[in-house]
Amino acid sequence: MSKAALFIPLAAFILLAFVLGAGFFLEDPHRLPSVLVGKPLPQFKLADVKDLERWVTSEDLLGEVTLLNVWATWCPSCVAEHQQLLKIAREGTVRLVGVNYNDDVAKAQQWLLKLGDPYWVTLADTQGKLGIDLGVYGAPETFLMDASGVIHFRHVGAVTDEIWQNTLRPMVLEFKQNGSQGE
């Protein structure tokens, strides 16, 4: 056996270190891929922010392609995102549902009065429980679900015009198309 063979373990170690180490650089280590993609919307029963007496369940959201937007009044980028959401609501391509996440309901009501309300309904997730079921770890986050309630896409961070035009809008149109074909 030649002496060069003695370097095989070292070479194997360096190779392994490089292969495993490459994982740190291949993608953003902060990125947390959603486990929920391809799964149905989690079950919930939450109060309507605008009418706390009224309960909204997950079943109530079915039947239409929906953008589920997780927001909070304590979230700075939600302010900027809100203008974009109002724009999307005006366009009328997709129904928007708000999830007011870990927030004070009174503040949320104020926010909607002052800045305008793009949402079909806003759910009061004061304890962040729906947030946990959605795998949310901050705000804003936006989920796209089809008419049957299956979640197809999750966007972390503010929805910008670019994301709406290039990513979300084409998907919305596609799901609407598929839905009407199925009927």
Binding site: P9, A12, F13, L16, G131, I132, D133, L134, G135, G138
Partner: protein, 185 residues
């Protein structure tokens, strides 16, 4: 001087020590360093959760230390002040009280946050190299080592045989009345 120094913060004390203005006994320095080390875990976020027994408190503690905060790269749930970490600690507390097993709680978190939340990754196709790569390298190293020692051993024993042969010949040539010391063996 020593007495006065003991009342300032340990860090300041260390600074003094190294600026050679105050003489600190080695034993007290060791004590300070030890207390600094012990102070580490106590800094982590503390929630005042109530548990019916020590066993469930223990389980909660293990889980919040073992699960990673989704918003932070290198902090577990126990050590993070992020809102999501607080929510998840509250959730784990609730699930422990509900009598869910550790495996079920891990599964609950995995269903929502995926691989990211587990500091101890699951064994699956994507993590095989991570789990068994080092074992593989150890196996390769042992194999190479054994092969190397074995082949060297064979070469050396062959050389010895040659050596022995010449010595034997030499001994045979010598007179039988003068045995060589090596022959006693």
């Amino acid at each position: 001087m020593d007495h006065k120094a003991n009342r300032v913060s340990p860090v300041a004390l260390l600074v003094h020590k190294y600026s050679r203005r105050v003489h600190v006994k080695r034993s007290s320095l060791l004590l300070i360093l030890t207390s600094l080390l012990l102070a580490g875990p106590a800094v982590a976020a503390i929630d005042s959760y109530e548990f019916p027994d020590d066993a469930s408190r223990q389980r909660y503690q293990v889980l919040v230390e073992e699960l990673r905060c989704p918003q932070c790269l290198n902090t577990n749930l126990a050590g993070s002040d992020a809102m999501i970490a607080k929510d998840l600690r509250r959730e784990i507390h609730r699930l422990v009280l509900e009598g869910m097993s550790d495996a079920d709680i891990r599964e609950f978190m995995y269903q929502r946050y995926g691989d990211f939340i587990l500091y101890r990754p699951r064994v699956k196709a994507g993590t095989l190299l991570l789990w068994f790569g080092p074992v593989l390298i150890l196996a390769i190293a042992i194999w190479v080592f054994v092969r190397y020692v074995f082949s060297r051993g064979r070469a050396e024993s062959a050389a010895l045989t040659l050596d022995d042969e010449s010595r034997l010949k030499q001994l045979l040539d010598q007179s039988p009345s003068q045995p060589s010391p090596s022959q006693k063996k």
